[in-house]
């Protein structure tokens, strides 16, 4: 178990380092002229500057050093919690992130909770319903769920619940009421994935002998499903929750833009629009870190939730 833990940790660190490195190379080496992008992001024209000023600017942004020297300087800073300066806002990126992160965490957390609730609920209902046409319709619902673009769903909800019925505010980031519509929008695609996997899981579990036993000892259908079906079918969900973190972060960019919430997602959209390279690098790195950490936790949780899974080497 100790060996497994160490190996898994090392792997997580390696993946995180790889993600940072890859993003660095995309952002700093892929553009033909990084300096021009950086200058225009901070509101200057590269054409209007003399050769000397250009050299000065190059030195200011640290672009005069070698590729690897730059890279290690940035990596060393990132390891110490210094993610550089935003070009367009002129503030440290770490401070910007610290200011915006709570908003996004609240949104993502609520959305993940809601999506689990909706996904499990829908799958449970599909398994419980006996009437064929309704069962078929419910089984197709998840497929519709991830065919709907997040941004369009957001607009539809705004139209119906904010402008039509006036139940919730359409935009803004103050208070719990403003969290409802964005969280529902963000939850739908993930809920669809959970529901689909769980529906298949229920179908598989239904053939198992212990289900027959449970019925034989006199449990009702609902009880069998909750106690014996769900607990066995729900195990793959844990892995999925880990994998869906990425989709939730991606969705947050769109959702926060639609609902004008002051989160990291909107910061990402604005940063890309202004080509603010350090901010984009920091946001990608932080979301990759979130993904890696959540998946690490999920992997380590498995043996506690299902004692049949152990990480010790098996005798074969």
């Amino acid at each position: 178990m100790k060996g497994y833990l160490a190996g898994r940790l090392a792997q997580a660190v390696l993946v995180l380092w790889g993600a940072y490195t890859l993003t660095y190379f995309i952002l700093y080496l892929l553009p033909g002229d990084t300096l021009a992008i950086m200058l225009s992001a901070s509101g200057m024209e590269a054409d209007g500057l003399s050769a000397q000023e250009l050299a000065q600017a190059r030195a200011f942004y640290g672009l005069d050093k070698g590729v690897f020297e730059q890279y290690f300087a940035l990596l060393w800073g990132a390891l110490q919690g210094d993610l550089g300066q935003s070009l367009s806002l002129g503030r440290p990126v770490t401070a910007l992130l610290a200011e915006r992160l709570p908003q996004t965490l609240a949104l993502a957390g609520t959305a993940i909770g809601l999506s689990l609730l909706a996904g499990v609920g829908l799958a449970y209902l599909t398994a419980y319903v006996q009437w064929r046409p309704l069962k078929a319709a419910l089984a197709r619902l998840p497929s519709l769920g991830f065919s709907v673009p997040v941004f369009w769903m957001g607009l539809l909800l705004i139209q119906v619940f904010a402008f039509g019925l006036g139940w919730f505010p359409a935009t803004g980031s103050q208070g719990t009421a403003s969290l409802v519509l964005p969280a529902i929008t963000l939850a739908i695609p993930s809920a669809a994935v959970y529901a689909q996997v769980l529906q298949r899981g229920f179908q598989g579990v239904w053939q198992e002998p212990y289900i027959a036993t449970a019925f034989a000892k006199g449990l009702s259908r609902a009880q069998v499903q909750a106690r014996h079906g769900l607990r066995n079918a729900a195990l793959p969900l844990l892995t999925l929750v880990g994998l869906q973190v990425g989709n939730t972060v991606s969705g947050a960019v769109l959702v926060e833009t639609i609902f004008s919430r002051n989160g990291v997602g909107r910061l990402a959209q604005e940063a890309v629009l202004r080509q603010d390279i350090p901010v984009v690098l920091a946001i990608v790195a932080v979301s990759a870190a979130a993904f890696v950490v959540v998946n690490l936790i999920v992997d380590l949780l498995y043996p506690y939730l299902d004692p049949r899974i152990t990480h010790t080497a098996k005798v074969s």
Binding site: A19, I26, L30, S143, W152, Q159, N247, V253, Q275
Partner: protein, 309 residues
Amino acid sequence: MTVDIPLPPIEAVPATQGRTRHAGRAATPWQRRTRLQRAVQALAPLLRKPGFSLALLVVLFALLAALVPQVLTGFDPYATSPADKLVAPNAVHWFGTDELGRDLYTRVVYGARLSILAALLAVAIALVGGLGLGVLAGFAGGRTDALLMRLVDVLLALPGLLLALAIVTAIGFGTVPVAVAVGVGILPGFARTTRGEVLRIKTLPYVEAARLGGASWVRTLWRHVLPNAWGPVAVLATLDFGAAILATAGLSFLGFGAAPPAAEWGTLIANGRHFLITAPWVSLLPGLFLVAVVFSLNHLARSAEEHAR
């Protein structure tokens, strides 16, 4: 999978007996069916399902719109007419008009070209890159495999949209950069699937037989491994085509896609945002069309997957 061999037609038998034996047709009692016949026979049971036919129709309509938009509509997508701006859907303007009086249905039909081209480009990049990486990893094995799979792990750890955002920041805005970014984002899935299939097929007896028969690795790969690894990858391509449409629409919704007045589906929806209170159809109807296309694609992919099982 079952292979059904067609029986020779019954009425042909007494005819040959009646005449002399050297009649030309009787000499070839069985022929391999043509590619077209096999395709029709495989599709026939699927086409009898109304859901499948409907989905196919929607997808064909979108493809037709991408190829020849002028057949499907009589309006000009850029012709403004300030007199009837923000008209609600009616018999003349099926989806209504936008803030400049342009016919929205026409804009959606013409927008199909950019959106579908972008999605096709993205899937093509993912397909070529993913197949290449997957085949290389699965075939080479050992260190190359380990190294490539770690690279895929890294790509999977980066949330798709954020990786796309980073690429768009680096290479600029527009339809093609967005398509490239989305393509790189969905590449790791293809690499994983291909590698799994190649690993499975590599151990099968016919690959061994081909090698023993003296075929080179390249020939074995090309003639025996790839054609058999193709199925799951094709299903994934159909599923990801829908996902690519959604992702490119998302990026162009955020303002990184084609510049106005050209329109993609994502930009159309984004434009309508500002009139959501007074004219909700401007963003909701193009979106509904997008949902219909993506849902149909997903339905086709799932039906094909279930049918193949």
